[in-house]
Amino acid sequence: MADRPSATAEPLVEVADLARWFEVSPPFLDRLIERGSRRWLKAVDGVDFAIRRGETFSLVGESGCGKSTIARLVVGLDAPTRGSVRFEGTEIAGRSRDALKRIRRRVQMIFQDPYASLNPRWRVRDIIAEPIRAHRLARGTAAIAERVAELLRQVKLTPADGDKYPHEFSGGQRQRISIARALASAPDFLVCDEPTSALDVSVQAQILNLMKDLQRDLGLTYLFISHNLAVVYHISDRVGVMYLGRLVELTSGEDLFRTPLHPYTRLLIETIPDMAMSGRRREPVGGEVPSPLDPPAGCAFHPRCPFAAARCRREAPALRRHGAGLVACHAVEEGRLPPLAGSRNDDRSAIPIGGARA
């Protein structure tokens, strides 16, 4: 069993041994005839983490690593195959809608696609008012209208925007509306699944700044899901790196990017195209993420890992404390991992940015 990330204060959200398997077996008769067995896609397989009150905890990884499945499990949109999700100590996983009603108000989600997540036939003020009505947070038309106007101002839109329909807004403005709707029930905890991935960079900057402001003003706690390491670096207090349904490293945002330990984290940080890499040549790491239907034995990363040894092919490493963070790697544990040659920060300091004009 892995070390649980110890929180200094009582964590707001605690996830323990969380797993979600999807059955992908052939139909029963085919199995009978071909003597096939049932097959499972282990989208999430034994994940532990805790999120502290007021922090931004990010999960990062490539497509199919299970990060979005975790987001859905944490808000109760899906039930886990095994494990638990606790919100302020109350178990969420597998509970009925009614039992979760009080928690539901306090946990909200923001989705990637602001085009698909707003009802096109509703005016914006009705979209935002729905959670207020559903949770009876304000009574009377005037009180609700006032609260909607306040929420619109909070996300830097104007109360007059409430009369419009979603299609009258740009992608960035729609994401602001999604955020206003999420805030309408006065939640403590927001799960944000790739909230800026569909947006242009300049709009992304506006949304990320807004999210930081709201966190500061309202004391929100974020679970932030993203594939974009630079965005994760920018917004996170702590980061969990996922690979094929498991956490491979979990540490503070600063440490993760300054001294990445797991070979997969290193690969990710090494390979993202970056502005500071202009004009450089480098050798990209080969290989691709294996199919989650047929993950490699032992450590799932071993076929791509330059430090893989016999033990890595045999035995899956557990997430263990190493320095300030947690890492699931035999090479780290055995001290076989060479130190990182020249961190990115050193590279960067060598490049004058905005220096003297020619």
């Binding site: 490539e62 497509s63 740009s170 992608g171 960035g172 403005q173 242009d200 960079v201 300049s202 709009v203 992304q204 900057a205 506006q206 990320l208 700044n209 930081k212 594939h227 390491l229 630079a230 965005v231 670096y233 920018h234 945002g253 990017f257 300054r258 690969l267 990710l268 940080i269 390979t271 993202i272 195209p273 970056d274 502005m275 500071a276 890499m277 202009s278 004009g279 450089r280 040549r281 480098r282 050798e283 990209p284 790491v285 080969g286 691709e288 993420v289 990115r344 920060n345 960067r348 490049i351 004058p352 940015i353 905005g354 220096g355 004009r357 020619a358």
Partner: protein, 333 residues
């Protein structure tokens, strides 16, 4: 790199318009640039800036009601924007290759990748069946498909996303084109695969002397791949120059804002620089400089006089700050 003396591609004052119920809407307006043989030109901008339309116009794949409403496109000395459709079809693939974002839409799911490659090679190069298959095999090996002699008979769905994009690149290379238009070639791929495809494109460009017009919204990809960068805003070219200049010392306030809004690893973690407001939609572009309502450095001239590209640093920027008279008064950097 070859100099501007013998450009491979010249785009002059290109205007792309859409016929709508409310009249003609201009989506790309007065775009001019040239590409040298073997050069990688990155074209960046936000959604709707006109970068993909510019690429589509060059390769003759503008979708109606979009059409070229003005200007010229010259490839290797020959004007190609007014070619009849059959002639453009012959040119496309042979002289200009294309790589699009989603490899699945570029490949026919009903044919093996080998058949698609062989067909393309035969159409453009007129090789016999055996020679065409050999070339297809060589191309698959060149783009890094493992066990190419076996994979050549597989269907597109049997390849992963990254491998499929390699097949699309092989398809674009079939007739050894002089120019490749790559529109968001790595956007649909995971980061570790993205790096492999970028490295592949760079290598091919070097080995074959192909020029690549790389259209993307990802500045990281541009910074690592391109020789020069063209920045588009609201259908106009606002800045063009060597990649180092654009990334480190942008001369147009929009480019500077765009660079500042990109989070970088190891950078500061407080607030990102923010350009307030949004890019105007086509048809609602303000008079004067299209960026002036969002620009912190605007002055009277920006409001009613549209700036053309003016020399700035190692490149050019469409900004009145760089007009000789203004530059002395308000340095920007």
């Amino acid at each position: 790199m070859a100099s501007e003396r013998s450009p491979l591609l010249q785009v002059e004052n290109l205007r792309i318009a859409f016929a709508t119920r409310r009249g003609e809407v201009t989506a790309v307006d007065g775009v001019s640039f040239a590409m040298a043989p073997g050069e990688v030109l990155g074209v960046v901008g936000e959604s709707g800036a006109g970068k993909s339309l510019t690429g589509a116009a060059i390769i003759g794949l503008l979708e109606p009601p979009g059409h070229i409403a003005g200007g010229r496109i010259v490839l290797g000395g020959r004007r190609i924007d007014n070619l009849p459709a059959p002639e453009m079809r012959r040119l496309r693939g042979k002289e200009i290759g294309a790589i699009f974002q989603d490899p699945l839409t570029s490949l026919n799911p009903l044919y093996t990748v080998g058949r698609q490659l062989v067909e393309t090679i035969q159409v453009h190069l007129g090789l016999g069946a055996a020679a065409a298959r050999q070339r297809a095999l060589d191309l698959l090996k060149e783009v890094g498909i493992p066990a190419a002699d076996r994979r050549i008979d597989h269907y597109p769905h049997q390849f992963s996303g990254g491998m499929r994009q390699r097949v699309v690149i092989a398809l674009a290379l079939c007739a050894n084109p002089r120019l490749i238009i790559a529109d968001e070639p790595t956007t649909a791929l995971d980061v570790s695969i993205q790096a492999q495809i970028i490295a592949l494109l760079k290598r091919l460009c070097r080995d074959h002397g192909m020029a690549v017009m790389l259209v993307t919204h990802d500045m990281g990809v541009i910074a690592e791949t391109a020789d020069r960068v063209a920045v588009m805003y609201a259908g106009r070219l606002v800045e063009i120059g060597p990649v180092r200049d654009i990334v480190r010392q942008p001369r147009h306030p929009y480019t500077a804002g765009l660079m500042g809004s990109i989070p970088t690893i190891g950078g500061r973690r407080d607030r990102l620089q923010q350009i307030d407001g949004a890019m105007p939609r086509p048809g609602a572009v303000p008079p004067g400089c299209a960026f002036h309502p969002r620009c912190r450095e605007r002055f009277a001239r920006c409001l009613d006089e549209r700036p053309n590209l003016l020399p700035a640093g190692g490149g050019a920027a469409a900004c009145w700050l760089h007009a000789p008279a203004e530059a002395a008064a308000v340095p920007h950097g």
